[in-house]
């Protein structure tokens, strides 16, 4: 008697799982950041009172704005997930949360390096700094929570709530310099009146904000593709 063996099932890749993690968008974003860096270093004047340390502004503030951007994406995608239960939204929220933590880390490390020569202290427990540190902890907790819960639906549901709550901190952080007496300077661009930066510096700052936001978006896409790859590997 001859037996016919059924062919082994062909593994089916999740849609998009075979796409490369690094592609033209990330290369373009890195080139954008390098371009902004060249303008900051070579074509932007030094500020008279602070000297070279003032140029930390061009990476510190864009990193803060990119943190807000990534966290807002995470919160919006969390709302979409809670509403539609779309796995793609949960995946993008996770990716944006990780990128937000990266940018928040840059904010919290470049800030003290700038503060030391200007304020004479690495750190002060004023409202802006403390709230930003708190945001970092909540974002880190978001990622820890995602790693700690095995059940997929429960993980997505709990972490969605945390991402939305973390994002609610953003307006408080931005307004903290108005609400409390702080050592941190007031906004010089993002304020109701005209920006107080000279035109050359303002152009550099806006270019840097654009380059960093684009870089954050490209990193979120790369991280999203990594999540697809992980799901494919776990399913195999």
């Amino acid at each position: 008697m001859t037996t016919v063996q059924a062919p082994a099932p062909t593994p089916v890749a999740a849609p998009g799982a075979t796409r490369p993690i690094f592609d033209w968008l990330l290369v373009l974003a890195v080139l954008g950041v390098i371009g902004a860096g060249i303008r900051i270093v070579l074509f932007t004047p030094f500020e008279a009172k602070q000297g070279a340390a003032q140029k930390i502004y061009y990476i510190h503030v864009p990193a803060a704005l990119s943190t807000y951007f990534a966290l807002t994406v995470a919160a919006c995608m969390s709302i979409v997930y809670r509403w539609l239960h779309d796995e793609r939204a949960d995946r993008l929220a996770e990716s944006a949360g990780e990128v937000a933590l990266l940018f928040a880390t840059v904010v919290l490390t470049t800030g003290p390096i700038w503060g030391k020569p200007i304020w004479g202290a690495w750190w002060t427990w004023d409202a802006r700094l403390t709230l930003t540190l708190f945001l970092w902890f909540v974002t880190a907790a978001y990622l820890v929570l995602r790693g700690a819960v095995d059940d997929h639906a429960m993980r997505a549901r709990y972490s969605a709530v945390l991402a939305i709550l973390a994002t609610l901190l953003i307006p408080f952080i931005h307004l903290s310099v108005y609400l409390f007496r702080t050592l941190h300077p007031m906004p010089i661009v993002l304020k109701p009146e005209r920006p107080s930066l000279p035109a050359e510096m303002l152009t550099t700052f806006l270019l840097s904000v654009g380059a960093f936001a684009f870089f954050a978006a490209a990193l979120m896409r790369a991280r999203y593709r990594l999540a697809l790859l992980r799901e494919q590997a776990e399913a195999a």
């Binding site: 993690i21 070279a52 930390i56 992980r230």
Partner: protein, 35 residues
């Protein structure tokens, strides 16, 4: 003008290390999952 260039350089190097490290971690994790 005060000489604060050491802080300026330190901040830029640190930011580069953090961003570069993250991109490297993406590459490393992708490599691990592909295996």
């Amino acid at each position: 003008m005060p000489d604060t260039s050491a802080y300026y350089h330190a901040a830029y190097v640190l930011a580069g290390v953090l961003y570069g490290g993250y991109v490297l971690s993406l590459w490393w994790r992708a490599r691990r999952w592909r295996k």
